[in-house]
Structure formats: structure tokens, C-alpha cells
Assembly symmetry: C2
Homo-oligomer: 246 residues x 2
């Protein structure tokens, strides 16, 4: 069991901002809402806070009452089993939601850890349900977000169940690239916020295998790697590699 830092796991400094002024509103929950509806969502999303690198936003087993939207930063979610095995279930970036897994049992079922200093918006779930009864667009969009999470998970199952090491890593890099692009960052150049071990855990590989695959991609000229700095040189090459199954 991970130990709690004294005085609670999360830093509580509150930031004042609103969905209506948030540049992520086209990615995040507010998508498709009118100005007036957006204001009602603002009321609901009153708590914003910072989570420092390495801190938990929530832990598996703790009571669930809010979902969280990432305003800035980068998170991982993971599940641990007794014998110490860890499975990273996802990496989340700005505009994505955290905590949906907690709705079913009213307790979080995974850990969410900031991989860099981050800011999140807490959305009290009970109030979200009330509001989404009134705002159809919000209701529907929320359902889409949950469904998208399920589809994403199926993709990971595909990856874990059928792909070999290099395919997995290629898929991972292309996915990150695409998500960075959607946020207005370079699609070709980015910093990884996670370690090789965390990548490995997510992809069902050991860190050495991840490292070797990175090296091979570099030798082949698909990417340039230096530690956590990645430059994608040949998107098509990486894509081709993914169909390269025996």
C-alpha cells in the first residue's frame, strides 16, 4: 500500500478560472454548450487546484465524489495488485477527464498521479448529474466522453493482446503525437513525461524492451530519441511498422 503524505495527498491551492474562459473548452466537457449553459457549468466547477509532480490526485480505494478535468499538466493512472505488480492504465493530458472509473462503486479504483506540475478542475459528480438532466447537450456529451473511454480501452486491449513490442511502441508514439497535435503542440517533437518503466507498464513490456525499441527506431531513422526528448522523423515509417506482423 502506498503511504499518504501527512496532511493529505494533494496540495490544495485554489486557482480562479472558469470554463467559459478556458482555452480547452473545445476539448473538454463544455464542448458544444451555449454561453448561457457554459455559465451554469462554471458554477459547478468551482474548485480548481494544483497537483505537483509526483503527487496523487486520488488513490485507489478512496471515496469518489468528483471527476476531474485536467487544465494543464500530465497524469498517469495505474492499478496495483498486492504482489506489487503495476499496470498503468493510461496517460492523460490537458482537456481529458479523470476519475470516471470511480462512479461504479463510489470509490476510486485506480491511482492518478501527476507526472508534471498540473492544474485540475474538480467537478462534483452529483451536481454534474443534476445539471446534465437540465442541459441535454451536456448530458449527451458526457455520455460520449464515457463511451470514448471505453473505445480507448478496447484499443489498448488490442495493443496488449495482439501487437508485438515495436508495434506497441509505434502505436504509443503515434497516439501521443496525435494528442499533442490536437492541443496545438508540435506533432513531431515532444518530451515524454513518463519513464521507460511507466511506458513499459502501459504497453505490457519491460523497460529494457522499451529502451531497445527506441534505439531500434532511431537506428532505422524513424525517430530521434535523447532521453525523454522525442522527435518523429518518419510518421509513415512508424505506421508501416504497425502492420509489420510477422
Amino acid at each position: 500500500m502506498p503511504q499518504r503524505s501527512p496532511g493529505g495527498p494533494i496540495s490544495l491551492s485554489v486557482i480562479k478560472t472558469a470554463c467559459s474562459g478556458c482555452n480547452l473548452r473545445e476539448l473538454c466537457l463544455p464542448l458544444g454548450l451555449s454561453a448561457e449553459e457554459l455559465e451554469r457549468l462554471d458554477d459547478l466547477v468551482s474548485v480548481r487546484r494544483r497537483v505537483k509532480r509526483g503527487e496523487h490526485l486520488y488513490r485507489s480505494g478512496t471515496p469518489f465524489d468528483s471527476i476531474f478535468a485536467i487544465r494543464s499538466g500530465f497524469f498517469k493512472t495505474d492499478v496495483l495488485i498486492e504482489d506489487g505488480r503495476e499496470q498503468v492504465t493510461g496517460f492523460q493530458m490537458a482537456g481529458e477527464l479523470l476519475g470516471l472509473d470511480g462512479i461504479s462503486s463510489e470509490h476510486h479504483t485506480c491511482n492518478a498521479v501527476a507526472l508534471e506540475d498540473s492544474e485540475i478542475c474538480a467537478i462534483p459528480f452529483a451536481r454534474l448529474e443534476v445539471l446534465s438532466r437540465e442541459i441535454h447537450t451536456l448530458q449527451h456529451h458526457f455520455h460520449k466522453v464515457m463511451s470514448r473511454e471505453i473505445v480507448r480501452d478496447h484499443g489498448v486491449m488490442m495493443l496488449l493482446g495482439t501487437m508485438r513490442a515495436e508495434e506497441r511502441l509505434a502505436a504509443f508514439l503515434l497516439n501521443l503525437s496525435q494528442r499533442f497535435t490536437a492541443r496545438g503542440f508540435s506533432h513531431a517533437e515532444f518530451y515524454l513525461r513518463m519513464t521507460r518503466e511507466e511506458i513499459g507498464s502501459y504497453l505490457g513490456l519491460k523497460l529494457e524492451t522499451v529502451s531497445r525499441a527506441f534505439s531500434r527506431f532511431q537506428e532505422e531513422g524513424y525517430i530521434a530519441v535523447q532521453q525523454k526528448h522525442i522527435r518523429i522523423l518518419d510518421v509513415a515509417g512508424l505506421k508501416a511498422l504497425m502492420n509489420h506482423h510477422r
Copy 2:
């Protein structure tokens, strides 16, 4: 590629029954509803139909408009990629919902195939959203069901990412056993509706590996297998095996 049966993929014989009289109402969507609310759900769930063994309930890429509740029978869902690889994403039994993945893009993103003659209830999603705005219990329960699906997927990711072959199969058998129990069937004795290959696809293993693991479990006295007929002899043994990681 599975071929389409002439005249469309699904048999359309309609069965007349109601949620209010359904013995699955404690497992399925109606959970927690009052008699009066249940009647309103009945109105919504008007289409019931049979899907014969081997037939598709829906296919990846087709438009989404309903989710489906399984009234009786057994399904698999799978995702295919171009080069023919298949990933089975789940096996579903009576009382479980199918099609949640389609909400996000308004198209189904996987195939649902009956593994035995089955009966399903179609729930038009747009109408479910309307009704769940009016019935809070229904809204909340629906959210829980979606969330449970996410949690389940995380479990599969854990399995695929960190477990070895025998652990995966043990986890699979225990999970089936537990779900049969919840439906009032024997926890110790059941028929598998799926082939070794489908089990393998779900567990990220080849069919030979699945077969060998079954044989080993039998040698060890954990189970008795004869083709698709499984008898679990030592639940504790199977559970112990799951922590048996090197």
C-alpha cells in the same frame, strides 16, 4: 471475414416481454427503479429479438442508435484490424449491456456476435437519454453501468499487461464462475460457449497455449475439462495460482 447471411445480419422475430416481468431486472438496467418507473422503461424497451448462434447483433462501422440488453444467451464482442488480427474485447451474458462503445462516434466500434441462440432487448439510446433525465435513479444507474465497463476494461488491461498465461486463464475461469453464480447457475460447473481460439484472443494467447493451460490445470487437479465442459474442483488453488508470479 464472417459472411453476412442473406437478407441482413440479424433475425428479426420479435418477442413480447417487459422489463417489469423480467427476472433479470436486478442485474440489468432496471435496477433500483420503482414499479411506476419500471413501466416507463417498458415503453422504451419495445423491441426484443432473437439472434441465432453465429449471427451478428451489430457490426463495427454501422450506425449506432440503440444499446442492447441481453435477455438470454451469450455474446462475444471483438475488434478486427486490416491484417486480420482479431481481439475479443469481452464475453457478455444475460443481464449485461452491449453497444456502449457506439455512443462516442455514433457508430459501433466493434462486432457483437451471438455464441449461442440469444434474445436481446433493444434500447433506443436517444429515448434512454430522455428518460434518464426524468428518472434520476435510471440516470445514475446507467452511469454506473458505463463506469463498471471502464473498470472491467482496466482489469483486462491488468491481465494482458502483467499476467502470465496460466494466471490469465485462472482469472478468466474465476470471472466466468462468479458471473454464472450471480445468475443463479452453478459456480463450479459450466459450459464454455466460446472456442479455445476465442478465449486465446481475449486473453492475448494462442489457442494451443490455452489448451495446454487447461490440461495443466486438470493434471494439477484444479479443474476437470472435457472439451467445453468445465468443472472447477479447487477455487482456492486457482486463486493461489494467480499470485504465482515467478
